[in-house]
Symmetry: C2
Subunit: 482 residues, 2 copies
């Protein structure tokens, strides 16, 4: 395809995208396709000869759009916000259009240095001290794995340069909350620690935050048994309830064992843009690494996860590669991001952060986050005031965990009387909400019982959308035997 | 930014990109900025209020473009081709515009199913049997790590569910070629095997391909010493010389020890689109995993690396996560790509493959690859016929390793007489080529001495560009004391 052919197709595609974005409020929020339906709508073999662009665009409309849960919809309250701001989309376009290759500073100095600048902008905007240096990764899952690998190599004094983890004399142990994201356990297992050496530390029964005394006890027990505490992953904003582990207190406990502390703030990290929310990570300057995802609430299109570390030299030593064909005269003077993470090559992802922050401005982003916090507080107030409804966890940021509890299922003091009936009811009305296409929420399990998470923060979501959701929840709960 | 504001900006950006792509032949190939120069050209803090799109676009032109080595340039012969075909760029635009979230089948059935379909298209196009299933990863580095984690868990019978690698009684060993990509050693270290348990197996001194007898001997020695062979990484197209390890013979040796065989065909995988090149992976049906990068020679824009495995159930067991908030009624019926790799969330990368194959057609892609093979053979012939020049390794695909050897530095039979003078000369003329801006090549080390890799295969590169390069190489070598 020549640049002139591209120009024609791309203009058509831009119009399609702008039209699509404008009509999203009129689309069903939840994807409407059945398993296999999208695949059945596609050709079984790749075409030998070019197809016209119109045919591809038509398939995008016919097959792809119905097969997407519209996370940009004003009534999307599922999982966590996954905002793809149009300002950041322009940055993504620029990245694709340039077609730059990020494998070494020399291959694209701008790719490296824009990333250095924007991660520095965001360090400052989130109130971290200049001791931190950041880089862009695809997701917080990967960032957590990188952090645990760095932790492992610190604990073994670079055992990877000798016999690896399999040569270690005493088992290394990783600690996290049972409410931490599933990617934490996955990262610990992939890093080789083994499930036997992963401790899920007790949480407070009301806040669901990790208890520092329980962490201290778990570490002491491991040490007494000849094991070595290597890492603590603190969740700031758990996936279930956005519970906030007390970073400062955990850092103090970990320090006694020289254990690495990684703060997983994948969702709540966006809140650090607001000075009034920085208490969420009180004590973070004592931690070793912190990750959060601008691709969630802040709204820089996926994939854009930031991992900040305090000891870059350590990270680079764990991750470095130095083959001859990547050497250049400027080595030592420049940043080589290939040595900050797992993949050698990287896209020019910094552009989407750069475009997003410049075209929207930080003030507007902050105002939007504050709007969402107020909306969550408003919804929690409505739920609390409504007979038969309950908020089940502290609303620390913008997610409200709620449940409709029909008569006889739960006592006034919150004791579950008929858990099975309650679960059936919760899943039934949540499913009805989602299949209505009018809104999308995520059921989840807390203390062994289903509840519904309402995660507020899609860019387009205004108070009126939250109010409409609240009407819909009550209507569906009532229709399903409330 | 509203859809209408986006429409205006995106049209302007499309025109900028089309114009940029059209003028690339007139730009210097190598980035012209000095370390720190790009960063110095950017604002030190994020703006509080929105900037006009024109200001951002102007910075893209002023700061970013000079800071990019133009891998789309017809005279780009560096590293490996990193083609960003405009057809695939359109697919990337569609992905960004849709803003879909790939964390579970339900979040975007189309994202999952288009990926299933296009990986199946490419399986068929590359001649793999239906026993293989593929998924898209960011890079071959990540794919190799995933493969080695799968290998580790097969060798330990899922030790991660118990004490992890640190509980294993006898060390597991990984085997690869000293010419394998640096990411293989990195992956082995990150997976916890340790450098002591990474064997760099002898290669043939002429082809630089791994010797099966040397692999067998290394494995036997490890077994005799109480260690256990766990994985072999075979390189099909090494980075230095595109040497091709003999997959079939290595598979046979590995089978005796039930060692996992991963085939890293990051670069040469594109050649499998040509039936006449499938001999490069003879015996691959006996391997366990294969990765290659459409984002290299084939030209689907970075990042797009494919990892095919034969035992998906095993991979899923190694990588799976199953938290409550990701459960849905269709679990078991659908593919959950989050359980096929490291990150939980994924972009809609399948679209760029889908657009690329449909808009360009396979026939045209094959014709381009054949053009490049012929150009490489032509250049190798010119070099071989030219006194004072030598081709240093077999041209297995599209990369020519060459050297100018001034009188007195190398004897007629290839013995290096004055290696230091030779290295100084090679690096000097290669640097002169690159700083000229007229072409870009990559110096690399083979048998302890520098040479120059000419990796042919940028989409725009025609025979005339290769001929012009050959003139330039001779002129610069002569100017630098040849």
């Amino acid at each position: 395809m020549t640049p002139e052919e591209f120009r024609v197709c791309a203009h058509a595609l831009v119009d399609w995208i702008a039209d699509h974005r404008a009509r999203i409020p009129d689309l069903p929020v939840q994807a409407t396709t059945k398993p296999g339906e999208v695949a059945a709508g596609l050709a079984p073999h790749a075409p030998e000869t070019p197809e016209p662009f119109g045919a591809v665009l038509a398939d995008l409309e016919r097959v792809v759009v119905p097969g997407i849960t519209q996370t940009q919809h004003p009534a999307f309250f599922g999982w966590f916000p996954s905002n793809a701001s149009l300002a950041s989309v322009l940055g993504d376009f620029a990245s694709s259009g340039l077609g730059a290759l990020g494998i070494t500073w020399q291959s694209a100095p701008a790719l490296t240095e824009v990333e250095e600048v924007v991660t520095e902008w965001l360090r400052e905007l989130t109130g971290l001290s200049p001791a931190w240096k950041g880089a862009i990764h695809d997701t917080a899952s990967t960032a957590c794995l990188v952090a645990l690998l760095a932790a492992r190599e610190r604990a073994t004094d670079f055992g990877q340069t000798r016999g690896g983890l399999q040569a270690e004399p005493a088992p290394l142990v990783v600690y996290t909350s049972p409410h931490a994201h599933s990617s934490v356990a996955k990262a610990a297992l992939l890093a080789g620690f083994g499930r036997d050496n992963l401790r899920l530390v007790d949480v407070d029964p009301t806040t669901y935050a990790m208890r520092p005394d329980a962490l201290a006890a778990a570490m002491a027990a491991d040490v007494a048994a000849g094991r070595r505490p290597a890492a603590v992953v603190a969740a700031v904003g758990t996936t279930g309830t956005t519970a906030v582990d007390p970073v400062g207190a955990l850092v103090e406990v970990a320090a006694a064992h020289r254990a690495w502390v990684h703060v997983d703030a994948a969702m709540a990290g966006s809140a650090l843009l607001l000075p009034e929310c920085r208490h969420l990570v009180d004590g973070v300057e004592g931690a070793d690494s912190l990750s959060w995802n601008p691709h969630k609430w802040m709204g820089t299109i996926l994939d854009c996860s930031l991992l900040y570390v305090r000891d870059v030299q350590h990270l680079v030593r764990v991750m470095s590669t130095d083959p001859a064909y990547l050497r250049s005269a400027v080595d030592g003077e420049v940043t080589q991001y290939r040595d900050w993470g797992i993949p050698l090559g990287r896209r020019f992802r910094a552009l989407k952060l750069w475009f997003h922050l410049r075209l929207d401005g930080v003030e507007a982003i902050r105002a939007r986050l504050r709007r969402d916090l107020a909306n969550a507080a408003w919804l929690a107030d409505q739920v609390t005031a409504e007979p038969g409804w309950r908020v089940l966890a502290p609303v620390t940021v913008q997610t409200v965990c709620l449940r409709h509890e029909p008569a006889g299922t739960v006592s006034d003091d919150g004791t579950v009387l008929d858990g099975e009936a309650l679960d059936v009811h919760t899943l039934a009305w949540a499913e009805a909400v989602n299949t209505s296409g009018l809104a999308f929420v995520t059921p989840s399990v807390l203390d062994g019982r289903w509840l519904v998470r309402v995660s507020i923060g899609a860019t387009a979501t205004e108070r009126s959308d939250v109010a409409a959701l609240w009407d819909l929840l009550r209507a569906e709960a009532a229709r399903h035997g409330g």
